[in-house]
Amino acid sequence: MRKRALAFGFAALLLAGCQPADERPEIVVQRFFGECGAAYGTSTDIAAADSECGILTTLINRFAAENPDIRVKVNVVAWPGYPQLAAQIAAGDPPDLVTMHQSVIADYSGRGLIEPVEPLLAQGGIDPAGFTPAALAGVEKEGRLYAMPWDTIGRLFHINTALMAEAGLMQGGKPVLPSSPEELLAHARQFKARTGKPYLIQAQVSAPDFHVALLYTYLLARGETIFPDDRHIRLDTPEAREIVSVFRQLNAEGLTTLNQDFPAATAAFTQGRGGIFPVGTWMLGPYEAEAGRAGSALAGNYAVAPFPRLWGEEAAFVDGHAWVVPAARRSPQERAAMARFLAFLARYNYDWARTGQLPAFAEVVDTPAFRALPHRADIAALARTGRQLPGYVERQSAVQGLIGEELEAAITGAKPVETALRDAQRRVNRLYAQML
């Protein structure tokens, strides 16, 4: 009798000890931007956080803390994370929310590998009308929205104002930038003559995206159609030749640094070895920090501006980060959790903009807090003038690699400009012809 009681008691204890399975919905969030657990651990202080990694980590920590009824699993992957994502989708086990560059969205949306997000946005109370024009353009493909935009990444002229002053190219405390290709060459020659240093610092080795960004920006500024449809590119045009020739001329006359890859160019600008470094908004934070360091060549001499209008109208070729949702079956609870996560992110877009990228939500761009951030007033226009390639353009990264390779040959003088552009056009068209 006692034994049985004991047995029953034991069993009851065991059953009671069995935790009910964790019923909370789980969302798997996959991102790049690095890992900074050492500095930010479980911190939820978003305002005090710095750098892309820090801000995003604290954001997600805060979300998890404020929503204890949701299990958040974070997967940090090496930039850009696409081999893994492709492998995960191929294996049938993708994450729930993934950071993705807007230029890559078309590849996945066109094949139905990611789902349209209008339902989730609606559930989270996010109104797409609140996106900036550049951000909206980045996530809209064939009339549907395939991601929640997170920021806009633009290209900027990062300027060493001390050297510009020495070259006589400052006026009223602001750098004087050219407004035509002839002026560009004139300024560059003047800069070199007066300071002995190259006008431009450029990454031309292993960095195809730099040349391509310049070409795309000025073709878009001139209203040119680069991709007439989803299977063709038009590069063998007089306008393109003109643009490339100007930069080839800069190389030929030694008005830019040569033989530098991205780390070398970044270091060169930091050390004041040239006037202007055309690179992106992502360097705003690090350079601003460097400019604040006493004894730096940039201390007090750092300014930024969008690419100058040399042809056509004001335009900038932009990209951006966005959150996409790989296609998969999910329960209503999971979807609700994902909607809450997106809404949460949207609310803190200003904090994300402290990284140097431009906000994706128009109202943030206009706030005094944003404008007060260093240099933002100078570049806020990018949120408006930023242009992306048409929504049907796929394999942008591979195309950039091809075009960049040919442009590099043209600009360094290894190939004639016409031949390079023609080869680029042929190779890209061939790539598209192979596509399923």
């Binding site: 690095g34 657990g37 050492a38 997967n75 294996a91 270091a267 930091t270």
Partner: protein
């Protein structure tokens, strides 16, 4: 008495000097990596020559060790690399003895089929293998990470050669005494292959430890990352400019276990040399 096969003569002074210069060329870049790992990221962004002068700091190593998953990645790498090493040594030794000493139909053909594996580039199989493992549910698991390493033909080839070189008299003696083939293998011949096992073991461990692409696409949840994949994920995408110290500290950190393994096996090789004089 010198160990079999080692040179009895002394090195000429010229040879010694050349050796030392060569050693310096080998070591200098790694010492430099070590120095860089002790500088803060900010200092190096301003000037990469700063590595040669104080102040030095341990902050990069602290950042690695305090990373929320670093220890998990280290454990994963240890499990995978050790599993691969043990697996390869076992499978290759068994197969090596079989090919070297036993007669069975298609032995030659099978050996050639195994050798062909040496020529197969990883790219020809990695994506189909990914598909196969997805179907078998092997992703994000230790077996999934270890199995590809076990197909290395080199191990089998290497052990076959080694077994072939062992004198047949040992076989005959043991079999005459009534030992089973397995006992012959296990008790008599295997101990004589310790130098080969050590060499093969070290290289298998190394290859598994530094493997990047397969773990990248097979273990996609961060708690199954191996150390190489995990450390890569921890970097910002322009780590070469603004995260150089951290990057170098990661390199040093990831190398330490292998150096330990090498030093441990080195002793084995030397000991085996001195003692295993088989005439």
């Amino acid at each position: 008495m010198n160990a079999p096969g080692s040179s009895a003569s002394r090195l000429s002074p010229l040879a010694t000097v050349l050796l030392l210069i060569g050693a310096a060329i080998m070591l200098a870049p790694m010492l430099w990596t070590l120095l860089l790992s002790f500088k803060s990221n900010a200092a190096l962004m301003a000037d990469s020559g700063a590595a040669l002068s104080p102040p030095w700091t341990l902050e990069n190593y602290a950042a690695i060790l305090q990373g929320s998953l670093t220890m998990q990645w280290l454990v994963n790498s240890l499990i995978v690399a050790t599993g691969a090493t043990v697996g390869v040594l076992v499978l290759s030794s068994l197969a090596g003895y079989g090919f070297a000493r036993l007669e069975f139909p298609f032995r030659r053909t099978l050996f050639v089929v195994v050798l062909l594996g040496l020529a197969v580039p990883e790219q020809a199989v990695i994506l189909p293998r990914h598909q196969l493992f997805a179907w078998a549910g092997l992703h994000n698991s230790y077996p999934g990470l270890i199995l590809p390493s076990l197909t290395g033909s080199f191990g089998v080839f290497f052990m076959t050669q080694y077994f072939r070189a062992l004198p047949k008299e040992l076989d005959e003696a043991a079999l005459l005494d009534g030992a089973s083939r397995f006992t012959l293998f296990w008790k008599v011949l295997l101990p004589l292959t310790i130098p080969a096992q050590a060499t093969l073991g070290v290289f298998t461990f190394l290859a598994a430890w530094n493997d990047y692409w397969w773990p990248l696409i097979s273990a996609t949840t961060s708690d199954y990352f191996t150390l190489t994949v995990g450390l890569a994920s921890a970097q910002m995408n322009y780590a070469q400019t603004s995260g150089l110290g951290f990057l170098m500290a990661q390199a040093v950190f990831a190398s330490i276990p292998i150096l330990i393994v090498y030093i441990a096996f080195q002793k084995q090789i030397v000991r085996a040399m001195a003692g295993a004089a088989v005439r």
